[in-house]
């Protein structure tokens, strides 16, 4: 069993003063093995914070991240039986488009594609692949929509099975949703 945190579009300090306290209480060090960050952190402090949560922190570059931090545009990570693809998503046109994300999934040759940029949690399956956008953990401003709820995702990966927990902050309360995904066998 491996616990993975999907988190991104933090945008501190340009768009937010901090990660909500309700989330900080849930995100305690020592439990999470890997952090997959979709980018736009947009400060060193945010990166330092993620590093306090887990030893393995994977970050890709968002369109507002500092060049000097040298994050890659995309990253693939093998965890248990899954190949994860990580990309901020501003490179994918039209932004947030499912068919275009599918192209990226094929291009990166991954089972699960994790992207951000839209500041809206989404999860869907297409042609047996899983697509997840953990949204913005700070509820940062976005030009797409103005009703933004802070969110992040925890994934419990075990062999070929993934249980996904979506944490969202609605009117000051944390709601949790559970989604289960099983990797189809290769001969499918």
């Amino acid at each position: 069993m491996v616990l993975i945190l999907l988190i991104g579009d933090i945008h501190i300090p340009q768009r937010s003063f901090g990660i909500p306290e309700q989330f900080k209480k849930l995100l305690v060090p020592g439990k999470i093995k890997h952090v997959l960050c979709t980018g736009n952190l947009t400060s060193k402090e945010s990166l330092e914070y993620l590093k306090t949560l887990a030893s393995e922190v994977h970050v890709v570059k968002g369109n507002f991240d500092d060049e000097n931090l040298n994050f890659p545009e995309t990253k693939t990570i093998q965890l248990e039986n899954f190949k994860f693809g990580l990309c901020h998503g501003h490179q994918i046109v039209p932004w947030g488009d499912q068919k275009s994300l599918q192209v990226l999934q094929r291009k990166m040759d991954v089972d699960i594609l994790v992207t951000g940029h839209t500041h809206e949690f989404t999860a869907f399956q297409l042609e047996n692949k899983l697509f997840i956008n953990p949204g913005t953990v700070t509820g940062a401003y976005s030009g797409f929509n103005d009703e933004i709820e802070p969110s992040f995702v925890l994934m419990d990966v075990k062999g070929s099975k993934i249980i996904t927990y979506v944490y969202q902050l609605k009117d000051g309360d944390v709601s949790v949703e559970k989604i289960t995904y099983t990797k189809p066998s290769e001969n499918d």
Binding site: P13, Q14, R15, W95, V103, R106, G143
Partner: protein
């Protein structure tokens, strides 16, 4: 030998002078030896039942305590040894009384002993036995003993004798419920108080007089100084003997609040006042504060403060005051409701501190500030809403500190504490903003301290998520932290900054940026006012800071534009004085003015503004933002890699905008396309041009609420925002051509696969030019390119690229198998591609 020793002691007593250290240890050892010897004889006599002989031995043992030669410390050691022996004697005599002997008789017998010191020790010992026997009234024995003790006036001897008296009587003082009180009326009980106070007063006098004991005459001046110093140290060690009496008083039940206020405290303070000795005064005030209960202090504050103001020069007033205030703070933490008149306490302290500063002109400013800091803590504890009072104290601090001329490090430290105390207590900067005298105090500090406190204030706001909701308060806050948003006269120049200061600068600007998101009102007009205040502050803060602070300002503004739009939509009938347009004009000015300085920051912000103005429905403004973004690109972006990044982000932003009429959109799309095709690096060019194809087929995503009703009506009308299939195909064809020209085959194939996927994307729109045939042509092109290389695809490309192609073909197969895509995809011939993938 013992006779000679006795003579020696006698002689020493006459001189009433301490002897040198060596001699002292000699005398001390000899005396101790004597105590052991006569103590042994005494015990033996007691065991044999020979009481008179035992008393005689005891008296001989006590002769040792008649010396004047020993320093207090050596005398103390001897005293401890003697009192051990006396305890044995007391125990034995008590047993003897139980078997029927008369205690009164015994008490009278010992009075015949010639030497006064042995006589009094034995009178106290037998007096204790007498009280326990209850043959006579307790108070009579006590009065007798306290009177008789007056006979010993030598400081060390007297002090220890009285301590012995105090020890032997401590469990026998008449008190409420005590077995030694024969009557319970107040008057007879108050004898205990009189007895203890009398003993305290006498002991204190003796203790003070130890300081005036003569040091040996044959010493040099320096040796004398050292001897005097040691004497002081040893004397301090004896303080507990005097303090014990006060502890005893605090334990007496009959010392009620009334008795304490009316009788006990006035007598104690009188003695403290009269003795005039700094060591005694400092110690005794401390003991009074520690041993009596807090509510007693609250009732007697004025007289305590008055006494403090009159203490001798050398007394550390600061420590006493802080102890006193801390007692009250601790008390009010748990008993805040029990304190009736909190304001009264403040008034008394104000008067008291006024008196102290008047009486003690040379009280150091740092000490005064330290006392005032404790007072603020007390005020915060008693009544945090007492803003006026705390503000007045801050004013007093300001006056005291500014009058003291240049500030020492100690005073600076105290001012920092004064500023931090209310900050950490309130956990809400809004309260702090009500003070008039907070920022003047900050201004007294040197540059680096001002920076630290400013950062602390902002961090406090952030940690507590404190919203600041009016423009006036925001202005006030920026008075407190202005050092972070403006250059100061006393700041070091940028070139002088070391690594630490550079990091600090970034941390500060980071904090200011975060702060911006907490400065907003629920009233949108007020929120705009706040943003205007910020724009003014940041605008004058210099390029180095603006580079950081402009972004949060713009994002806060855009968020506000959405809120104004929503408010107007929800309240159509109202004539709202504010429009999103005003916000856009506001940010337009800010962002465009920064383009020459920070083109990339500015460009990205312009695109954000374009998105927001699009959502709010302002076409002309949106067009202006896009134009300015493209101009920024043209004029300021030169690095090839950055050009690719920027033009793709311009194109993809444009792709999301829905406000334009056809002509305006077309113009912008042409520019995006034009710049894409001008990129120097071929890879970049192919990708950027290919991306532009998405600009020419845009479906209108907006779902009208009434779309279901109008469905039939709309059926013919395509929900298309913009389409230009010719240019769409132009982009793709150009991308294929550019990719095909690449010399490096791995990159070429990767690009062709990407373009193939774009074609498949558009297939579903049934565009005339991008159909199955077009895809087939591309698949054939890929096949031909592989053949040209005379090898397998897997040899030509990276495995990931190979898999990309493979899964793309699999995707085509999948679409051919699905009902809804079958018609569009069935014409695609994947047989040659499947060969290529073998």
């Amino acid at each position: 030998m013992s006779k000679r020793f006795k003579q020696q002691v006698k002689q020493l007593r006459k001189t009433s002078q301490l002897v040198s250290t060596n001699e002292q240890s000699k005398i001390s050892n000899q005396t101790k030896e004597n105590v052991r010897k006569f103590g042994f004889l005494m015990r033996r006599a007691l065991d044999q039942g020979k009481i008179p002989a035992a008393l005689k031995n005891a008296s001989q043992m006590l002769d040792g305590l008649r010396t004047s030669a020993l320093s207090p410390k050596n005398y103390y050691d001897l005293y401890m040894q003697v009192s051990d022996e006396l305890r044995y004697l007391e125990f034995f005599l008590q047993e003897d009384i139980k078997s029927g002997k008369s205690a009164s008789k015994l008490y009278k017998e010992v009075q015949f002993i010639e030497a006064i010191v042995p006589r009094l020790y034995l009178m106290i010992t037998t007096g204790s036995v007498l009280i326990k026997s209850k043959e006579v009234e307790t108070q009579d024995v006590l009065s007798d003993l306290i009177e008789m003790c007056k006979g010993v006036q030598h400081p060390t001897r007297g002090l220890f004798l009285r301590h012995y008296l105090s020890q032997m009587t401590k469990d026998k003082l008449p008190d409420k419920g005590s077995e030694y009180s024969t009557s319970n009326d107040q008057e007879s009980l108050s004898n205990s108080i009189d007895f203890t106070i009398k003993n305290f007063v006498e002991m204190n006098k003796l203790w003070v007089r130890i300081a005036h004991q003569k040091t040996p005459g044959n010493l040099t001046k320096k040796e004398k100084e050292i001897a005097q110093k040691n004497l002081d140290i040893e004397r301090k060690e004896l303080k507990i003997l005097v303090g014990t009496n006060l502890v005893r008083l605090s334990q007496l039940e009959i010392v009620t609040l009334e008795v304490y206020t009316e009788k006990v405290l006035p007598l104690l303070l009188e003695q403290i006042n009269e003795c005039g000795d700094p060591i005694a005064q400092e110690y005794l005030m401390e003991v009074i504060i520690q041993v009596f209960s807090d509510d007693y202090h609250i009732s007697t504050l004025p007289s305590i403060l008055q006494t403090i103001s009159k203490l001798a020069e050398g007394v550390n007033i600061k420590q006493i005051m802080i102890s006193l205030i801390n007692r009250l703070i601790n008390y009010s933490e748990s008993n805040s409701d029990d304190i009736n008149d909190k304001e009264q306490i403040f008034t008394i302290f104000s008067k008291g501190i006024g008196l102290i500063t008047k009486e003690r002109k040379n009280l150091p400013v740092k000490d005064l500030l330290s006392i005032l800091n404790s007072l603020i803590q007390l005020a915060l504890q008693l009544n945090p809403k007492q803003i006026d009072y705390i503000d007045r104290v801050l004013r007093f601090c300001y006056n005291s500190a500014s009058e003291s001329g240049s500030l020492s490090r100690d005073i600076i430290k105290e001012i920092n504490n004064l500023l931090t105390t209310p900050l950490t207590k309130y956990k809400n900067v809004n309260v702090l903003l009500e003070f008039e005298n907070y920022s003047p105090l900050i201004e007294l500090l040197p540059y680096s301290d001002r920076r630290k406190i400013a950062l602390k204030i902002i961090e406090n706001v952030l940690q507590n998520s404190t919203y600041i909701r009016t423009s006036e308060k925001v202005k006030k806050l920026f008075e407190y932290v202005k050092i972070l948003v403006q250059d100061e006269k006393d700041m070091p120049s940028e070139s002088e900054e070391d690594e630490y200061q550079k990091t600090l600068f970034l941390a500060e600007q980071d904090a200011v940026c975060r702060l911006v998101h907490l400065l907003k009102s629920k009233d949108l007009i007020e929120s705009f006012k706040i943003l205007q205040v910020l724009a003014q502050k940041f605008g004058n803060s210099g390029e180095r800071r603006i580079k950081h602070t402009v972004s949060p300002l713009v994002f806060s503004s855009l968020l506000l534009s959405f809120k104004i739009r929503d408010y107007i939509e929800d309240n159509e009938e109202e004539q709202y004085p504010l429009s999103p347009k005003k916000i856009f004009e506001f940010v337009y000015k800010i962002v465009t003015s920064l383009t020459p300085l920070f083109p990339l920051v500015s460009l990205k912000l312009l695109l954000q503004c374009a998105q927001a103005s699009d959502k709010c429905g302002f076409e002309a403004i949106c067009y202006e933002f896009m134009t300015k973004a493209i101009l920024a690109y043209e004029e300021h972006v030169v690095v090839s890699k950055v050009r690719f990044e920027m033009i793709t982000i311009i194109s993809s932003t444009l792709q999301t905008l829905r406000i334009f009429d056809e002509e305006n959109y077309s113009t912008l799309a042409n520019h995006a396309g034009g710049h894409s095709s001008k990129l120097m690096v071929v890879n970049d060019q192919a990708r950027a041009v290919c991306l532009c194809s998405y600009l020419f087929w845009i479906e209108d995503e907006e779902e009208d609420d009434d779309s279901e009703e109008d469905e039939e009506e709309d059926e013919d009308k395509e929900k298309i925002y913009f389409k230009d299939t010719k240019r769409l195909q132009g982009c793709i064809s150009r991308a294929i051509r550019v990719a095909g020209s690449l010399m490096e085959s791995a990159s070429m194939f990767q690009l062709l696969f990407e373009i193939l996927n774009v074609c498949l994307y558009f297939l579903r729109y049934e565009i005339e030019q991008i159909n199955a045939d077009y895809v087939n042509t591309l698949l054939e092109l890929i096949h031909r390119k592989i053949e040209e290389n005379n090898t397998n695809l897997s040899e030509l490309v990276e495995p990931q690229s190979f898999n990309f192609y493979k899964s793309t073909i699999k995707h085509i197969k999948y679409c051919q198998s699905q009902e809804e895509t079958e018609d569009l995809f069935k014409q695609i011939n994947i047989s040659i591609s499947l060969d290529d993938l073998k």
